[in-house]
């Protein structure tokens, strides 16, 4: 669809990579604008709980979603709106979950980034960091037991999450079982407010790949081309049976931990360093320099994304909220065994 927006004469040497790049950029842009919409709804008091943005991490996240196929498993983390969209999560799922619509996949029982469709391979994160990795391992082991091959499982984490026991246990487990797991670590320099220097003492998180006996690669998380290639290769390697793949990306979180956080603790020097580049601006410059897209196309894509999001938000805002009196208060699928069901 995006080719229609492009000036055909400006395409130059259209290539599959160019197509992927443009598609990835547009999804990353969509996620950026979606996050910004949620932030503005939050500030207007229209969202309960928090809003967590992926600003600065969109091109890394989208690269993972782009490399996955239907049938793969994906357990995104909090800054992965872009990867979700690329994997195929409907825009409405995000909006309904943030706005608490019972028509969303979490039916207002869980909110914001805690959303997914497990039976479609999109696993909803719990808040405890590192906990999703072994769950992805389980799906992959199950597929092996069922004789299903050719699929991979992917999940994301920040550098802070690499300090958890769950992370260690699960990466080691995947390595022992040689599972087709792709683990993308976004080292965004701060776990909430804690800098790298208080998080780990190894030279690079990539060194851990050797410790676990898995393959690893480093990518520049601000560069869409590097991310598409690095993450894409990791996914291919996993699919080819080379076992777990660790991708470590360096970038800077260009927002607070959540919208409640002004991120005043971020070192100004980091913001001015190459890590602090806005990954979308970097991509825009590259597309223009290669004559893949001009200012008009960029503006048209932005306005199309805004329109899609406004439409989705308007639709969800008309949906009724959950009714506590009609809620089924049972935490068990076997209703007969549930203690929570109140007789009326």
């Amino acid at each position: 669809m995006f080719q229609a927006v492009l000036n055909p004469g400006a395409l130059g040497k259209a290539s599959p990579f160019c197509d992927s790049y443009l598609k990835a950029y547009r999804l990353a842009l969509l996620s950026r604008i979606l996050d910004e919409k949620f932030a503005s709804l939050y500030r207007a008091g229209k969202i309960h709980g928090g809003v967590f943005m992926g600003r600065g991490q969109e091109v890394l996240s989208v690269s993972l979603g782009m490399a996955l196929r239907p049938g793969d498993v994906f357990a995104p983390l909090i800054r992965d709106a872009a990867g979700r969209l690329a994997f195929g999560e409907p825009l409405l799922d995000a909006v309904r979950t943030y706005l608490g619509s019972p028509q969303g996949p979490m039916r207002a029982r869980d909110g914001n980034v805690h959303r997914g469709r497990p039976l479609e391979g999109l696993f909803p994160m719990i808040s405890h960091l590192g906990a999703m990795i072994s769950v992805v391992n389980g799906a992959l082991l199950a597929r092996r037991l069922k004789g299903v091959s050719g699929t991979v499982g992917a999940t994301c984490i920040g550098e802070g999450g690499t300090s958890t026991g769950s992370f260690h246990e699960a990466v080691n487990q995947a390595a022992v079982e040689k599972l087709p797991l792709v683990l993308v670590v976004a080292n965004n320099q701060y776990a909430y407010s804690t800098p790298n220097s208080r998080q780990f003492a190894c030279r690079s998180l990539l060194d851990r790949a050797h410790g676990y006996g898995v393959e690893g690669c480093a990518v520049d998380g601000t560069d869409l081309e590097a991310c598409l290639k690095g993450v894409g290769e990791a996914v291919e390697n996993a699919r080819a049976g080379r076992g777990p793949q660790l991708v470590v990306a360096r970038l800077l979180r260009l927002c607070g931990h959540g919208e409640h956080d002004d991120a005043g603790y971020v070192d100004a020097k980091l913001k001015q360093s190459p890590l602090g580049r806005d990954c979308l601006k970097v991509a825009e410059e590259l597309m223009q320099s290669r004559n893949w897209a001009g200012p008009e196309a960029l503006a048209a894509w932005r306005s199309e994304a805004v329109q899609k999001i406004e439409q989705a938000v308007a639709q969800v805002q008309r949906e009724p909220g959950p009714d506590p009196f009609k809620e089924v208060w049972s935490a068990l699928s076997c209703r007969a065994l549930s203690e929570g069901v109140e007789e009326s």
Binding site: R107, A131, I133, S134, V135, G138, L141, S166, E169, L337
Partner: protein
């Protein structure tokens, strides 16, 4: 021909593996070695590739089970000791237990916990964990006290579409025997009257059922007829059977091997008092382990947990009221 409680657990797993291709077992040393207690002896050989050794990683063991359950499998996760399940606690209570509520996708995972005290096992190999898991919504918590229940309830646990915490008592593993495996069973969620009586009710579960039965026998020699209710499942809790028993006897003593603060015994009493206060002829009582870690030395351990003797003593006091 007789079969032990432990053999019943092994036989149930063998049958589950044989009858359902979705079942697999994952845990430390469960494969060729057959498990620390031999609950999976020979199963790896009989069911190649389906009885899988895990690294020492309780958190990742449970997480893997949840992922496999989402994919339609029926994992049985063996914790080497119930005590170590605290290292997988997060995945149990936050991942497995919340999945259905959050996503409408059931999580049919069975987590076997070899629990309870045995002589010389000390603070970290003796714990009873049913209270802490029963507290969380989204889990079924089973505490079989008999060979027959160990077999039938484990089979049922695997068949249930929700996460089941299966508390099997280590003290019963070898010495508790039955003539043969059962062909029929009470459903999960139903308590059993293990011994009928009209003077008082003792509610117990797991190994404490046998201590309660021994106490009831002792009291029978003194002319008291004590009814013993085996809860079998602590969540769901069969309040109806307990209430019906108390309606017959008017006196209630609840016995549990876990610690006294809160827990199953407190829950039973809370329900009886709030829903059946008028049925009681005397204040309900409960007897638990002492509020310390479980001691190592056999003579300290014997004093730490409720025994037939201490149960009989508490029952006498209650019968005099």
């Amino acid at each position: 021909m007789s079969i032990t409680y432990l053999e019943a657990i092994r036989e149930a797993q063998a049958r589950a593996l044989a009858e359902d291709p979705r079942v697999f077992i994952y845990g430390q040393d469960v494969g060729a070695f057959g498990g620390a207690f031999k609950a999976t002896k020979n199963l790896a050989k009989t069911f190649p590739g389906r009885v899988i050794d895990a690294p020492v990683s309780e958190d990742a063991m449970v997480g893997l089970g949840v992922g496999a359950a989402i994919e339609g499998m029926r994992p049985i996760i063996e914790m080497q000791f119930a005590d170590f399940s605290t290292a997988g606690f997060n995945q149990i209570v936050n991942q497995a237990a919340t999945l259905y509520w959050r996503t409408n996708v059931p999580c049919p995972i069975t987590i076997r916990l070899p629990c309870g005290g045995t002589s010389g096992s000390g603070p970290f190999h003796s714990q009873s964990m049913e209270t802490i898991y029963a507290h969380y919504p989204g889990l079924v918590v089973l505490t079989p006290a008999t060979v027959e229940d160990a077999y039938s309830m484990l089979l049922e646990a695997v068949a249930i579409d929700d996460p089941v915490i299966f508390c099997e008592h280590k003290l019963l593993y070898y010495h508790l025997k039955a003539e043969k495996l059962p062909t029929e069973a009470l459903p999960v969620g139903k308590a059993r009257i293990s011994r009928e009586g009209r003077d008082m009710t003792i509610v117990a579960y797991s190994a404490m059922v046998h201590e309660a039965l021994a106490a009831a026998e002792e009291l029978a020699g003194e002319g008291f007829q004590v009814e013993v209710v085996d809860l079998r499942s602590v969540k769901p809790l069969d309040t109806d059977t307990v209430m019906a028993s108390v309606a017959r006897t008017g006196r209630l003593l609840c016995v549990g091997e876990s610690w006294p603060w809160g827990g199953v015994t407190a829950e039973v009493i809370a329900r009886v008092v709030s829903e059946g206060f008028g049925l009681l002829d005397a204040p309900p009582r409960r007897l638990n382990a002492k509020d310390t870690p479980v001691p190592y030395h056999p003579s300290l351990w014997a004093a730490h947990r409720p025994t037939a003797r201490s149960i009989a003593g508490a029952a006498r006091n209650l019968l005099r009221m």
